[in-house]
């Protein structure tokens, strides 16, 4: 039992904190908000040079073989600076899906490119009718002469506009109809039949909704050997939720720090706001919830390689609890900044919106308490 950081982990945290503080300033964020790409390729190159893009990739595939703790350290730092680079989509989700499902040839072709910063990915999985059910996919992949034909619609595709390749989930169909298995398909950006409605994402970065109309893909576009991809999707999404939880902790900590400072400086009725007990107690509650969120993010990271039920319970528990804490912390940060908190003139609003986005990604608190209850045998999913 040891929860202290190793020397390497401490160094990683320090360099990430420093880089984020220097690079992701308020001005940078405002510029990025108007960028159609949503992030800076020059910074992405620096991420690669720092080794961050190689972090969780196996050494055999050009990576550093790190795990969920290291990812969490980076994500927390990213949260502090509202980083909008497609790290989650490309490294935490994309590379992990390739590593979980891909053939050796696919891993060799894709993973080193990610580590070098030469390839970005996006994951197109959610569908409107599915809400947050990972198993609900209506998009179909039909075997055709020499390849696959994809049809369907995807929503909330993070960083789709920036992606060189999009990993699209689809139900594999053959001549006799649906097989019941999910497959993951590599779709190159700009593939004929692929249309995208791109948008600026709440809280920073880009998202899009995709339509796939008879998108023709070669046979090797399917990741892996055609076995059901759902377990891998669940694994990767559970780990992504742990990573997002760490990012949310970084955002919440920044909101707490900023709000603390503000209540000390802002004077009304001849004394600082922080002299009022009602404010002090509110801040105590905020601090407590930030700390609870920190514990849950760490717990989800430590359980990232556990067996599926334990891993799922930890991930859903973390997502639900951190989501609940995040809403409270975000709303109180705005409240305690008074009218200024509701303006675009402070950064508070941007952090607030990123937490709102966090809460809904992969399902909100109600969904994940329900999943936790189902995985615990309390309700039937």
């Amino acid at each position: 039992m040891d929860l202290t950081l190793s020397d390497e982990q401490r160094l990683l945290r320090e360099s990430a904190d420093r880089f984020v503080a220097e690079t992701f300033t308020s001005e940078h964020r405002k510029k990025a908000a108007n960028d159609p790409l949503g992030y800076s390729p020059a910074i992405w190159k620096q991420f690669a040079e720092l080794g961050w893009l190689a972090l969780p990739i196996a050494e055999a595939h050009g990576g550093l073989g790190g795990g969920a703790i290291e990812i969490g350290l980076l994500m927390e730092a990213f949260g502090r600076g509202l980083v909008s680079e497609p790290f989650l989509s490309t490294v935490v989700i994309g590379a992990a899906l390739v590593a979980e499902c891909g053939t050796e040839a696919q891993k060799q072709a894709i993973l080193p490119k990610i580590a070098e910063g030469a390839l970005t990915l996006a994951f197109a999985h959610s569908e409107r009718a599915a809400r947050f059910d990972l198993a609900h996919v209506d998009t179909t992949a039909t075997k055709s002469a020499g390849g696959w034909r994809l049809n369907g619609s995807k929503v909330a595709v993070l960083d789709g506009a920036a992606a060189g390749q999009i990993i699209v989930s689809a139900r594999i169909a053959n001549a006799n109809g649906a097989s019941g298995k999910l497959g993951l398909f590599l779709v190159p950006a700009g593939a004929p039949g692929l249309t995208s409605r791109d948008y600026a994402r709440l809280g920073g970065g880009r998202g899009c909704n995709l339509d796939l109309r008879d998108v023709q893909l070669p046979a090797d576009a399917l990741l892996g050997d055609g076995s059901d991809a759902l377990p891998a999707i669940e694994t990767v999404v559970d780990r992504a939720m742990a990573a997002l939880g760490a990012e949310a902790v970084g955002i919440m900590q920044t909101l707490l720090d900023t709000t603390l400072e503000y209540t000390k400086i802002r004077k009304q009725f001849g004394r600082p706001l922080s002299a009022n007990q009602v404010i002090r107690h509110r801040l105590a509650d905020v601090a407590m919830q930030v700390d609870e969120a920190r514990s849950m993010a760490l717990r989800a990271a430590l359980m990232a390689n556990a067996e599926p039920v334990a891993r799922g319970r930890a991930a859903s528990g973390a997502k639900a609890k951190i989501g609940k804490c995040a809403r409270f912390v975000a709303e109180q940060a705005v409240q305690l900044h008074g009218a200024m908190g509701v303006t675009e003139e402070l950064d508070i609003g941007a952090y607030f919106k990123r937490l709102l986005a966090f809460d809904t990604l992969f399902g909100g608190s109600a969904h994940h308490y329900r999943r936790h209850a189902a995985l615990s045998g309390r309700v039937h999913a």
Binding site: H281, L283, A293
Partner: protein
């Protein structure tokens, strides 16, 4: 980083498990399960204290020269967790966890030699004389006075919320020996024999129907000056040291997990008509369990810091606050799980020695009293409002 315990620690865990299995009697276990108050009755609690003492585990937090087992923080964690899992009785924490550490830290060698072995063996049963009718959260305003008369103090005043004063043969108390400029000055820490003439005790029934706390009156009670711990007028420092122990007294998540499991088992049983099939109950069960997960992780973070010789910081207030709130959430869920059986009031005590057949199944008896008595969790040991004051000051630097 990893969450697993070492092979030696696993072996220790097995040793604890084995010892509990051989020494915890079914009577003790049943009595503990059917006790709705915070503390076990002394006959049950002290039987367990004697069993622990026999093994050399009577005071896990004490240094080895005073009879402690010299455990690492991880061993203490494992011990507490196994005790919670097995449902052992509460021992007299006012002795082992409160006055014991103060005597070890600030008492004279004579006091240490006299009192400490009697706490370990269970010969003495302690109560805590802190709060007064006019001094609750503002403890330092206490007025019980000790006036020097030769080699004695003469004590006059009253203490309240005194847990198990009606069972205890000794009390440690904060008394005013001087009018200082600050109200914290002039307070002394004193050890009182409860059989001293002039002491009377009035029972106070709590809303759950239990007699656990009392008011104690002192009328010209003569206590030797030799019974004062440490310096005269420094009692506030010693008393605060103890309150830190009370707040940080270890590992609550394992106990809360067991309390939730008890409610969860009831919810899955026909006794409650399978309350768990109500999706709202099922969701709340998960919500509370996740809160316990977060608390456990925070406790493990503290443990890891202690293990590596770091200072965990001012987290004890933070933990106290969450523990009390989660306890209340568990007991509240319990009331909702048992539904209309909660209407039946059983005034007799203890539940494990009733002379009649109760109106509702025995295992449901403690549920409502636990909820009612449990309202005190956010009040005693520094109310939640006081804890938030402390967090604002100590954690946030406001």
């Amino acid at each position: 980083m990893d969450l697993t315990f070492s092979a030696e620690e696993r072996a220790f865990e097995q040793e604890v498990r084995d010892y509990i299995a051989e020494s915890l009697t079914p009577e003790m276990k049943r009595a503990t399960a059917l006790t709705p108050s915070v503390f076990s009755d002394p006959d049950i609690g002290m039987a367990w204290q004697r069993a622990l003492h026999k093994k050399g585990w009577g005071a896990p937090g004490w240094p080895v020269e005073h009879g402690g087992p010299d455990w690492t923080p991880a061993q203490r964690w494992i011990f507490e967790a196994e005790c919670a899992r097995a449902g052992v009785p509460n021992v007299n924490v006012m002795g082992v966890k409160m006055v014991g550490p103060v005597i070890i830290g600030f008492g004279s060698p004579e006091q240490q030699n006299f009192y400490l072995p009697r706490i370990l063996s269970g010969e003495d049963y302690w109560c805590q004389g802190y709060s007064e009718p006019g001094s609750g959260s503002d403890l330092a305003s206490l007025k019980t006075r000790a006036v020097r008369d030769g080699d004695d103090y003469i004590i006059n005043g009253t203490k309240i919320w005194t847990t198990h004063a009606h069972h205890a043969n000794r009390m440690f108390a904060l008394v005013r020996t001087n009018e200082g400029e600050r109200q914290q000055d002039g307070i002394s820490f004193i050890l009182i024999d409860m059989k001293t003439p002039g002491i009377t005790t009035r029972p106070i029934l709590t809303i759950g129907g239990d007699h656990e706390v009392n008011q104690v009156f002192f009328d010209d009670v003569r206590v030797p000056v030799a019974n004062r711990v440490g310096e005269e007028g420094k009692g506030w420092t010693y008393g605060k040291y103890l309150l830190e122990f009370e707040r940080g007294s270890g590992i609550a998540s394992a106990k809360l997990r067991e309390a939730l499991k008890t409610i969860s088992d009831l919810a899955e049983s026909d006794v409650t008509g399978r309350a768990i099939d109500d999706p709202d109950i099922a969701m709340r069960m998960s919500e509370v369990e996740v809160d316990i997960d977060a608390l456990e992780m925070t406790e493990l973070r503290v443990l890891s810091a202690l293990q590596t010789g770091q200072n965990p910081g001012a987290v004890s207030s933070l933990i106290k606050l969450r523990v009390s709130e989660i306890r209340q959430a568990v007991t509240r869920l319990g009331v909702d799980v048992i539904g209309q059986d909660g209407l039946a009031v059983e005034p007799a005590r203890p539940f494990y020695r009733l002379n009649h057949e109760p109106a509702i199944p025995e295992e449901l008896l403690p549920v409502v009293p636990e909820y009612l008595n449990g309202r005190a969790y956010t009040i005693f040991g520094g109310s939640s409002e006081i804890q938030r004051d402390i967090i604002a000051k100590m954690v946030l630097g406001l």
